[in-house]
């Protein structure tokens, strides 16, 4: 399903966090949202998930204004993974992932249980399904919360730093999964900081700075040394190892 923002402006308090942003995400795309801290990545994802009031501009999902969508239908269409990894009660891992079925209202049915089992397996947390989330490590909790979003089985997935806290094996497994979802026709956007993962997995990269779009295109066009210097103020080198593009930040640009 296509998710579009046109002339988006978002204010939080007195600060304009997103300015004049236009973006169209279509099925099959895995879009990496990159940019320095405070660039507006999280705000963009929240606005696209219809969780923040938009100051001006439009957001449309499947060519319909997002505000016109029914809440439950939206919950069955867009899954949003917040950056904060919190579960306020020591629920079991399975009960936490089962919350992803809330908009479908079928956690107790066979179809819902199957979706929960798939998500648990995909995020490699099936073995801890019976444990309370309060006893998990940070990385395990992050995978459980990602599993909740996957269990929602939506056409659009918006994930805010999904690999934060994950070990390298699970980072690769997670992006393998996101890439597979995109290939299967889902629309996936992930705010992220790992430039090498973005270069390797994303079909498209959106580079933000100070709430504006600096660049939008395939990773090879966007993740260039001058652009990275402009966006992050770093000197970086791109290299190819075993046919995989890696981006290595070398130093901060002085001044």
């Amino acid at each position: 399903m296509t998710l579009e923002a046109h002339g988006l402006q978002v204010r939080r308090g007195d600060r304009t966090v997103i300015t004049g942003l236009t973006l169209s995400a279509v099925p099959g795309e895995l879009i990496g949202v990159l940019g320095p801290n405070g660039a507006g990545k999280s705000t963009l994802l929240k606005a696209l998930a219809h969780l923040l009031p938009v100051t001006s501009g439009q957001i449309a999902l499947d060519a319909r204004p997002i505000a016109a969508w029914d809440r439950a239908a939206l919950g069955r269409t867009i899954a949003y993974l917040p950056q904060e990894r919190i579960v306020h009660w020591p629920l079991s891992v399975r009960a936490t992932v089962a919350l992803g079925r809330f908009p479908h209202d079928d956690a107790a049915s066979a179809a819902g249980a199957a979706a929960i089992d798939r998500a648990l397996a995909e995020m490699d947390v099936a073995a801890v399904a019976g444990r309370p989330v309060s006893e998990l490590s940070g990385g395990e909790l992050a995978r459980v919360l990602m599993a909740r979003a996957l269990a929602q089985e939506t056409a659009v997935l918006l994930a805010d730093e999904p690999t934060a806290g994950l070990d390298p094996a699970h980072q690769l497994a997670l992006f393998d999964r996101l890439a597979a979802l995109a290939r299967a026709g889902r629309t996936v956007l992930a705010a992220m900081h790992d430039l090498s993962l973005a270069a390797r997995y994303c079909t498209r990269v959106v580079l933000l700075k100070d709430g504006r779009m600096l660049a939008d295109g395939p990773p090879r066009d966007v993740l260039t040394e001058p652009r990275l210097a402009e966006a992050f103020g770093i000197r970086a080198r791109l290299a190819t190892v075993d046919g995989v593009t890696i981006v290595v930040p070398l130093s901060n640009v002085p001044g």
Partner: protein
């Protein structure tokens, strides 16, 4: 395939059985003797006119306290929340105290519960308006604390300016909370409101569960957060406002009961609601039976007894959370 929901029915069944047992016990126990000899007309009168209203009110008020406590702890995601946190209890107390102070309660017995209901309603409205629609839950707590402080201050003023010592004693005794000398009329006043409030709170259960993931994730799952707040606050106001208006303040039940129930039904707020309501009814009924058995002659108040039991439990909660946070 084992699923945690598979065993959900069992603790609820046991709790319902316990509540039914406590209900029966409360009908059968009292200073006039144990048992209900069907032949004696006097015994029948005692059960129907004295014990039945008292038992019905105990069950309703206990269910209101337990259910609203679980709902507020779930909504605020804070295990130390209690039903009076949003100002309802203090508002009802102020309304009732004003009814006594003004002499309205002496002229018309109904003025006392009606004054309590009015106070509870106004306090809830004030807290909601003070917090604003889109505010964080912390703001709602602060608004409730502010409203409670104002109501408590005005209550002390009413006590201070009480027309005579008897009125002051009446106010103090009323605030302690009791099921003594309540009639079926009190049940008719409070019962429907308590049941309506509890029914509303029970419908919020699945949505309260999603709040465990935080506001943004809950909203993403399709929960209307503003509507949920209105329903939790309104349900609590109805159940607790009506309870306090007829029985006065019965402390610690709403705070403690969800903690007692969690080891058996789990931490999901939705499943805690019905379980806490049943456990609250059981606890208040048993406390009231204990009161009648242990100290039939003394004027020990139910609210005093629940506070005496509840306060040490609260201390234990603090010690336990200190240990958990320290670890």
């Amino acid at each position: 395939m084992t699923r945690p929901t598979a065993s959900a029915g069992h603790p609820l069944g046991w709790l319902a059985l316990a509540a039914a047992g406590a209900f029966a016990l409360s009908l059968l126990v009292g200073p006039a003797g144990i048992g209900m000899p069907a032949t004696s007309e006097a015994a029948w009168l005692i059960v129907a006119e004295i014990r039945l209203p008292r038992t019905l009110l105990g069950a309703l008020v206990g269910a209101a306290l337990g259910g609203a406590g679980a709902a507020l702890q779930g909504y605020l995601r804070n295990p130390l929340a209690e039903p009076g946190l949003l100002g309802v209890t203090s508002g009802a107390s102020l309304g009732a105290v004003i009814a006594i102070h003004s002499g309205a309660a002496a002229a018309l017995a109904l003025a006392l519960p009606l004054g309590g209901l009015l106070g509870a309603g106004l306090a809830t409205l004030a807290a909601l308006m003070l917090a604003g629609e889109r505010s964080a839950t912390l703001t709602l707590i602060l608004a409730g604390v502010a409203v409670s402080s104002v109501a408590a201050a005005l209550t002390t003023l009413a006590l201070n300016l009480s027309p005579n010592p008897f009125a002051a004693v009446e106010m103090i005794y009323w605030m302690m909370g009791s099921l003594n000398d309540r009639s079926l009329l009190h049940v008719w006043i409070a019962g429907p409101l308590i049941l309506a409030g509890l029914a509303l709170l029970l419908t919020t259960g699945p949505r309260l569960d999603t709040l465990a993931l935080g506001d943004d994730a809950a909203a993403n799952l399709g929960v209307d957060l503003m509507r949920l707040r209105r329903e939790v606050v309104l349900g609590t106001a109805l159940a607790i406002g009506a309870s306090t208006s007829v029985t006065g303040g019965i402390g610690f039940v709403g705070l403690v009961v969800p903690h007692l129930v969690r080891p058996y039904v789990g931490h999901a707020p939705g499943r805690l609601l019905a379980a806490s309501a049943l456990a609250g009814a059981t606890l208040v009924l048993l406390a009231d039976v204990g009161l009648r058995l242990l100290a039939p002659a003394s004027d020990l108040r139910l609210g005093v007894l629940t506070a005496l039991i509840g306060a040490p439990f609260f201390l234990w909660l603090v010690v336990r959370s200190r240990r958990e946070i320290g670890a």
